[in-house]
Structures are given as C-alpha cells and as structure tokens.
C-alpha cells in the first residue's frame, strides 16, 4: 500500500482528499502545517507528498527545498496545491523540484491522475 502525506490547513479539503485517496487505495496521513513534515518523512516510509504553499510556520516551497536537500527523502515526489496562481511562483515551485503544481480551484480527478502517474 502506498503512503501519502497531505499538508493542508483547510480542514474541509483535507477531509475530502483523505476520503478520496483512501478509497483509491492509498494510506493517508495529514498535518495542518509543515513543521514536523520533514521529520515525519524521515521516520515513516512515504511515497508522495501533497502540500499547500501558504501554511503557518513553514511555507510549502521552503519545505519542498528542505526535502530535496535531504538525501534520505529527496526522492519523494511532491505535488504543490495552492491558491496562488502567480506564474513566478509556479515557476519557482517547479524549479525547486515539485513534481506537479495544481492551483485552487482544482479538480480532484486531475490530482488523482497526477498521483497515479507519480506512484
């Protein structure tokens, strides 16, 4: 079973994504901010991260860079999911190594397709 870490501070979206991903056969853990995400990834086998950008304590892109900088977890694909649709930020996210970038409002099917493609 593949494990997904979801980082999202909107509780409604979190619930929905957890539901759908679980139905699709994935195991999902979630935090509402990225503070302990890196440590969690090191200690728990995870296959994919879906992360919001604007979260408290640590910004999604900063977290992405942290993940890519650590050899133990840099192989884990990260999908960014955010309300920010600014071209510069999308570019920055992809340059930093994001495997995908979805802007809100987003399509859950598209997200699922991307997830299937990556893992």
């Amino acid at each position: 079973m593949k494990n997904i870490l979801l980082l999202e501070d909107d509780p409604a979206i979190t619930h929905l994504l957890k539901f759908k991903l679980t139905r699709e056969g994935y195991s999902v853990s979630n935090f509402s901010n990225g503070e302990n995400a890196a440590n969690y990834l090191i200690e728990n086998k995870t296959d994919l991260v879906i992360s919001d950008i604007m979260m408290p304590i640590i910004n999604g892109i900063a977290l992405l860079k942290e993940i890519k900088a650590d050899k133990r977890i840099s192989h884990i694909p990260v999908i960014l999911l955010s309300a920010i649709s600014q071209d510069e930020l999308v570019e920055e996210g992809l340059k930093a190594g994001a495997a995908g970038y979805l802007t809100k409002p987003f399509s859950v099917e598209e997200l699922l397709k991307t997830v299937k493609r990556l893992i």
Partner: protein, 469 residues
Amino acid sequence: MIELLKHFIFSYNYFFLYYFLLIGSIYIVLSFLAFSNLKKYFNKRKYKDLKEVFRFKNYKSISLIVPAYNEGAGIISSVQALLQQEYPNFQIIVVNDGSTDQTLNILKENFNAVEIPILPFHKISTAKVNAVYLCKGYKNLIIVDKINGGKADAINAGIDISENELIVVVDADSILERDCLLKISYPFVEDENIAAVGGTVRIANGCELNKGFITKIGLSKSWLGKFQVVEYLRAFVFGRNGLESLNGILIVSGAFSCFRKDAIIEVGGFLKGCIGEDMEIIVRMHELLRKTNPASKISFVPDAICWTEAPENLEILKRQRKRWQKGTIVSLLLHKKLLLNPRYGYLGMLVFPYSVLFEMIGPLIEVFGYIIFIISLILGIVSFNFAAIFLGVAIFYGVILSLLSVIFEELTFRKYPLTEHLLEMFVFAILENLGYRQFTSLCRVVGTIEYFFGHTHWGVMEKKGFSQS
C-alpha cells in the same frame, strides 16, 4: 466675594452634571452607530470570499513597514510571523531606527542580509539612511538601517523605498492574525477613494502565544489589564468607530494601519518628531485630500485584528496616557482650520468640535469637576440629593456604556470563548467607572498641563513579555 465663589462652585456642579449627561449620551449614540455599522459589515463579510483576490488578481501590492527601535528581544519572531501572512504580493520593510542594542545585527545574521546600493531617489526626505539590505532566501524582506529619527521618520524611510501600492504600518511587537493583510487591504480593492484604513487593536495580555501567533485568547490576569480590555472596547472599538459612518475617523492606530502610498506621499508623509503621528497624518489627510477629492474616505476594518501588549503597571500606563493626550492636542491644534469648517462635512462640524471639547478639554473639565464636587460636599454647598444624582449620573451612565460595549462585543466579534471571561468583563465594566476611568482622566490632565508648559518627550514602555505556551 465668598458668595461669588460659592455661587460659582454651585453652578459648576450643575455644569458638570450636564457635561456628563451630554458626553455619556453622545458615547451611547456612537456605540449604537458603531454596532449597526459592525452588523452591516459582518453581514457583508459573511458571504464575501476574500481569497478570491488570489484568483482574480485584483489585489493591491503591499509594503509592510515595521519601525524598530531597540527591539532586539522580539524582532526575529515578529518578522518570522509576519512572513507567514497569507497574501499574494507583499514585502516586509524593517526599519532599524538607530537602535542602540543589537537589533540590526540580529536581523542581519538571522536573515542573511546583503547590502545593496541606496538609490539616489527620495519621495520623502528623512534622516540619513545608512544602508539597505536584501535578504538571501527571503525574497520579500528588506532591512533599512538609519540614523535615529523617531517613529514617523522611520516609517517615512520605509515608504521611500517602497514600490508597492499600499503601505501597512505595524509595530514591532504587534501580533497579527494570518489573514490581516487580506482583510485590511480589502477596502482599497473595492474603492480607490479610500485613503487609509485602521485595524482593530486588542489586548494580548493573558493570551497564549506560539511562534508569534495567538493560539488561545484569554483575559489578562491583572486588574489593570482587565480594565483596559473593557476600556478598549468602549472607547476604541465602539466609541471611536461609530464615527466611521460620518467619515469622521480622526485616528487609526499606529499599531496596525494601512494607507494608500500615493495618498501618503501626496500629503507629505508622516510628520517627523510628532507625538501621536498616527493621529496627525489622518487629520492631515482629511484636510488635504478632501479638498481635491471630496469623496476621500478613511475607514476601519473591525475584523483585521492586531493584538498588542497593554501596560500592566500604573507608571507605564500613566506615561502612555499622557503621551496619547499630547498626541491628540498636537493633531487638533495643527489642523485647527478644520474646526467648524462646513467644507469638511460632519468631520468639521461635528467630530472635530466634539474632539476638542470632549477629548482635549474634557479631561480637564472632568477632573476639575470632581475636585469642585468634593469641595462642595465638604462645604455643604450642594444638597445630598444633588450628590446622589451627581454620583448616580457620573457612574451610572459610565457603567451602562461599559456594559453595552461588552454586550456589543458578544453580539459582533465574539472573541472571548470562555463564558467566565465574559462575566469577568462584565464585573470589570462596572468597576472600571469606580476609579480606573478617573485615573486615566487624571493622566490626561497631567499630559495636557505638561504639553502647554513645554514638557514633550517620549516615554519608553517596558517590555514585559507574553506568556509562551
């Protein structure tokens, strides 16, 4: 001669009684006005999706200026918290106003500052800027180091290097909620006639903090803190803000406010060295901007909340209130041409005279009145009946007003989740009028006397620190 004096004392008591009735009634009217305004605002807000500006990109870019003087202790966590604001396009400009402590070095080290050449381009003149720094890894953070010039000058230095549309001024120890920028900038998105918007200031004492954000709202443990919570509700939230519908807001809090950059530059920036620069610039904006554009408006956003530390020590409270009073006097005197000037509508004809009478001269009338009243009682010039009515009115009206404020708070903001806190606020609303209010009026009188006899300088507020969770 004695008869004349007695007659004067007697009449003054009545004058004082009517004064109290008048000011009490005005405050009650303002409170209801504020309440109805707030209800309208919250109804509008309920189905307004502020985050839509991310999608439609009709937001205004923001420069968040943080003037810092000897803020070495808390500046890092403040800036880190501010960096987490949810907003599509903003920058933070920390202006080190010639601190004598390690503020600048702490900032430089923590944020990987790199010095950049200062552009030979000034929209507002300020005291000398020593250096400007960009920060590696923090694209939207700029540090400005300058010679000490006071808060107004520091803000001006920040405005000078800003290339964004809005200027938000925040105190280094203010705590903002993550969506404050979204909320306070919103009026500007929908109306270009808005020149300035004030946030709401609330008391952080007793609240729990984690990494620069409030995690649990609580009531201050000290009596002084509790008094101030009620006072802020009465005087600043529901009292002053009732003036919004009259476009008569005379002051937006220096702890958290937002301005259209072009508007500030048009009126010449903040007034250097001015006590109460936050009130002075607003009054000046009314005066100058409304001349060319009668639709210019100054507003406030009730739910853009800034939490700030209130003094819990009588000495510091005294200094604060004296300073506020001097600031009020300066602003009113500098712009006396607004007084009873029909060109400025309700502001000129109602709000300004009201401020002169009740905010500037008011405390003098009040304290003098108490003194006269006590003398009258001792000398038996007034009857016991009168004494009863007098006390009744002086305190009764005040109590009703304070209680109303607590109720309005519950009906609109509802920031205090624990019912015990609400009941405590109720009790302190009553007690507030039995000594605390009189104390603050006394401070204001001392401030007024000091101003007119040439004693103007800033006091330094001692930092007590918040309870860390």
